[in-house]
């Protein structure tokens, strides 16, 4: 760990933890605008999390240690992923220790922990939510990897810092963006894949899995969900919108990078919210078609990236 890494740690970790809930609040406000209603304030997700963290938790007597440890593993994996992703600079605190595939692995670890916990209490809703979430995951992960490979292939590396540093404007990146945007929708559990606003049984995947939780573990899970969303948006911003990211660790560059980063993830979040407002939720059995489209886009992006690199 160099002093630069520690400085980035000190900046990025609080930034992610503070920004992630606010960004979710912003998406909610944006959706409320499109539905012609007065939404909750931007900071509402913060207050929700603060409230849950202060409450005691009710745990089923049938639950095992898996259930108690899952929220910590979930949040820990996602915060680690958030420290791998470049945010306000093209560097990231853990950038020298892991690459894009590590991020995909950490997302999978978080999902695995949550799936085990949801099955642990043997509640029907948890089981149903888990089976759906894992079905989506089996389709989302290849698409995510294909999108990452499309960006990585011309550069010959999966190192996130290298990917954030150089982005040529070409068709491969357009297709890869389409692919990863659909992946972001699925990973954040948004319409048309899942509905984040309800745990009615017809729609729920992610919400079904956390239904049994209450109090402090629920607060951790909610924060984890917000961080996951920010990680996906940070990856999109780093791959496709590299404007303004700090290229050295001086104060002016970092300040500009911070402003640019907040602006970029806000724009991407607005795009997510708009997609959500303009579309209807897909039936569960139609979701694989959408995710298949993402995979096709990713595959064609890889093809375009590899053939485009030839000339």
């Amino acid at each position: 760990m160099t002093p630069g890494d520690l400085l980035l740690f000190a900046l990025q970790l609080p930034l992610v933890v503070l920004l992630a809930p606010a960004l979710n609040g912003a998406i909610k406000a944006w959706k409320a605008f499109w539905q012609n209603r007065q939404g909750p304030g931007l900071l509402q997700p913060w207050w929700d999390i603060a409230k849950y963290l202060a409450r005691e938790s009710v745990v089923s007597e049938h639950a095992s240690w898996v259930y108690r440890w899952a929220p910590a593993v979930y949040l820990g994996a996602l915060l680690t992923a958030a420290c791998l992703a470049p945010t306000l600079a093209i560097f990231s605190p853990l950038g020298r220790y892991g690459d894009a595939i590590a991020v995909v692995g950490l997302l999978a670890l978080a999902r695995f922990a949550l799936a085990l916990a949801a099955l642990d209490t043997a509640s029907n809703f948890g089981g149903m939510g888990t089976s759906r979430e894992l079905m989506f995951a089996a389709l989302v992960e290849p698409a995510l990897l294909l999108g990452v490979f499309a960006v990585a292939a011309p550069l010959g590396t999966t190192n996130l810092e290298a990917l954030a540093a150089g982005t040529p404007v070409d068709m491969a990146h357009v297709l890869a963006f389409g692919c990863l945007f659909i992946v972001a929708i699925a990973e954040t559990g948004r319409i048309p894949v899942d509905n984040p606003d309800t745990h009615l049984e017809l729609t729920m995947a992610h919400e079904g899995m956390i239904l049994e939780y209450s109090g402090r573990p629920l607060g951790l899970l909610l924060l984890g969900g917000h961080v996951k969303q920010l990680v996906m948006l940070s990856l999109l911003a780093a791959f496709f919108l590299p404007w303004g990211s700090a290229r050295d660790l001086t104060a002016p560059a970092l300040a500009l990078g911070l402003v640019a980063y907040v602006l970029k993830v806000t724009v991407l979040a607005a795009a997510l919210g708009l997609t959500e407002s303009l579309n209807a939720k897909l039936r569960v059995f139609k979701v694989p078609e959408l995710l298949g489209t993402a995979s096709v886009l990713g595959f064609l992006a890889v093809v375009a990236g590899v053939t485009g690199g030839a000339h």
Binding site: A165, G166, T167, P168, V169, D170, M171, V174, L175, P242, W243, G244, E289, T293, V296, L297, L300, V303, A304, T307, G308, H311
Partner: protein, 222 residues
């Protein structure tokens, strides 16, 4: 611009790629109003492209081209098609494609990639206009052609024609130092007149027969 330094392509490249994206979104669209929105967006992008070229070339001529592009592609053509699209959207069901939607989408993507693969290595001699504009214009042209082949309704076919013309226009903009005013005017007015006539005709067909599915015209053959 230091902030752009990490991009290998210029603004024109981005506009060209955005044009391909709008053409992709519009080509297989079955709802007329959304297809029309995409067409208008293409007009806006072409105006931006013309503006970038005008800034690059200097001289009043380029700005005249911007004005013509704005007038024809953003204002006139969408306005002519708007009432027809409104009528079709209000009365008819969603328009049919000759090919199922998903294979058609895959075909569209393959067409785009082929255009980029084949035309990508070519660059207009003596012009520094980035590497994406020419393949993008060919891709938009081919997408228009594909749309004309698979779209069932007359109105969508008119829009497909305009898409093809947009691709042609981008190629003409980026591969030359601006063409003579007479040509520029002729191209603009030509396309506009064609769209007016076809818009009116497709509207008339719709009023008289309901659906404007061109397949039904086959039964009229002797």
């Amino acid at each position: 611009m230091p902030m752009m330094a990490n991009f290998s392509g210029g603004p024109l490249d981005m506009v060209a790629l955005a044009l391909v994206v709008t053409a992709l979104a519009g080509a297989l669209e079955r709802r007329p109003m959304i297809a029309l929105g995409m067409l208008t967006l293409q007009g806006v992008l072409l105006t931006v492209a013309a503006l970038l070229i005008a800034l690059d070339e200097g001289g009043a001529h380029g700005y005249l081209a911007v004005a013509i592009t704005l007038g024809v592609k953003v204002v006139a053509i969408p306005r002519v098609l708007r009432s027809a699209a409104h009528e079709v959207a209000a009365t008819g069901p969603a328009q049919r494609l000759a090919v199922a939607q998903r294979p058609a989408q895959a075909l569209a993507l393959v067409v785009v990639l082929t255009a980029f693969y084949v035309v990508g290595p070519l660059a207009p001699a003596g012009l520094n206009r980035g590497t994406q504009a020419l393949p993008a214009s060919v891709a938009v042209m081919l997408l228009g052609l594909l749309a004309m082949l698979v779209q069932g309704s007359a109105l969508a076919q008119v829009m497909a024609l305009v898409t093809m013309e947009n691709g042609l226009y981008l190629a003409a903009l980026t591969a030359t130092h601006g063409f003579p005013l007479a040509v520029e005017l002729a191209v603009g007015v030509d396309a506009l007149v064609a769209v007016v006539v076809m818009g009116l005709v497709s509207r008339q067909i719709h009023r008289t027969f309901g659906p404007i599915d061109t397949d039904r015209l086959r039964s009229q053959r002797g």
